[in-house]
């Protein structure tokens, strides 16, 4: 595990239960932890089912990154939910999109639910880059960076 500052550890300790609550509520009842872990893994996040469980219980040791929060919400179609906004605020992150914009992202995700799994993943990976406010770049480079 990379060396972390005491202040960072203390701050994460103070907020991780709240973060866990938010993550659990974003996932809702209709999606299992295993399904979420699988979808996040396909998006390029190295998140296992046990990590999903630990984060939701507020036991994650490493602070949740902006990329993981957004990826979590993307997989749960919860980009426009209040839970993501609260989580971002807690983590001290911000995204260059309004609530209305995020609703449009969610609408688009729902609209393309009928696509095949592979096609959905291609679309979602690219949407993630747009969501994070990064200029599009060739997929090869994005894969090398492996988020």
């Amino acid at each position: 595990m990379p060396e972390r500052d005491e202040v960072q550890i203390a701050r994460w300790d103070a907020i991780r239960e709240q973060v866990g609550d938010g993550l659990r509520q974003m996932r809702g009842h209709g999606r299992s932890q295993a399904q979420l872990a699988y979808e996040m893994d396909e998006l390029g996040f190295h998140v296992s089912q046990s990590m999903v469980s630990r984060y939701e219980q507020g036991q994650g040791e490493v602070p949740l990154s902006l990329e993981r929060m957004v990826g979590w919400a993307l997989c749960c179609d919860a980009l426009s939910s209040g839970h993501l906004r609260e989580l971002l605020e807690l983590g001290g992150y911000s995204l260059p999109w309004t609530i209305g914009d995020m609703k449009q992202f969610d609408l688009l995700l729902r609209k393309f639910r009928s696509l095949s799994r592979a096609d959905q993943m291609v679309l979602r990976r690219r949407m993630l880059w747009h969501l994070l406010g990064v200029q599009p770049r060739p997929l090869g480079i994005a894969r090398e960076l492996a988020l």
Partner: protein
């Protein structure tokens, strides 16, 4: 953050300008290179290596830029067609703010609304004209500036205005009617329209 609509309009205008002078030699590989270069010049990030299973291509636009993702499984002909569809989509399609995506398929596919179905059909027909280098088989407003329907006070401006009205009518029905698209893509019809254009706007037949 909102998508820059003016930027998209500008892209459309520049695409139309480039399409008129784009050479066509029947080689799909060269066609792909030209279409890709054209899109990249317009600021569209192109990627030919997308691992798409069913779709041939995806056009994704947002305030962060435009991307064309082309399936890696396609052969040269199919890739040429997919690029043509992306170009046609940028010219014909309605992209919504702040983010929108259009999925391109080789064959007919289920669409949600009638509007999307009509747009898909118009894009497919225009893309075929683009890929074959037969722009004249599509309504002229799609690829060049045409006279406008305006108030006219002289015989010449009346003729030009009439022509503008005809172009408007043609563009409208091309986007909405399968029958009109079929009819408009016939060579004899295209030749007849060209003659009418020359009669009504003899000073500038190329852009009539």
């Amino acid at each position: 953050m909102t998508m820059n609509v003016l930027e998209l309009d500008d892209t459309r205008r520049q695409l139309r300008d480039r399409l008129r002078v784009m050479p066509h030699d029947g080689d799909p590989r060269a066609g792909v290179r030209r279409m890709r270069a054209l899109l990249q010049e317009m600021g569209v990030q192109c990627d030919d290596t997308a691992e798409l299973e069913d779709a041939d291509a995806i056009l994704l636009t947002s305030g962060r830029g435009m991307e064309a993702l082309i399936a890696s499984r396609l052969d040269d002909d199919q890739r040429h067609q997919a690029y043509s569809r992306i170009v046609a989509r940028l010219i014909i399609g309605q992209m919504h703010e702040p983010i929108d995506a259009k999925i391109e398929y080789h064959s007919k596919h289920t669409t949600i609304s009638r509007q999307e179905k009509e747009e898909d059909a118009a894009v497919a027909k225009f893309a075929t004209a683009l890929a074959e280098g037969n722009l004249n088989l599509a309504p002229r407003p799609l690829y060049e500036d045409v006279p406008k329907l305006t108030l006219a006070f002289t015989p010449r401006s009346a003729a030009r205005s009439t022509l503008g009205g005809m172009h408007l009518w043609s563009d409208y029905w091309y986007r909405r009617s399968t029958m009109y698209r079929w009819w408009r893509s016939r060579k004899d019809v295209s030749s007849a329209i060209k003659r009418v254009c020359v009669i009504l706007n003899p000073r500038r037949p190329a852009a009539a």
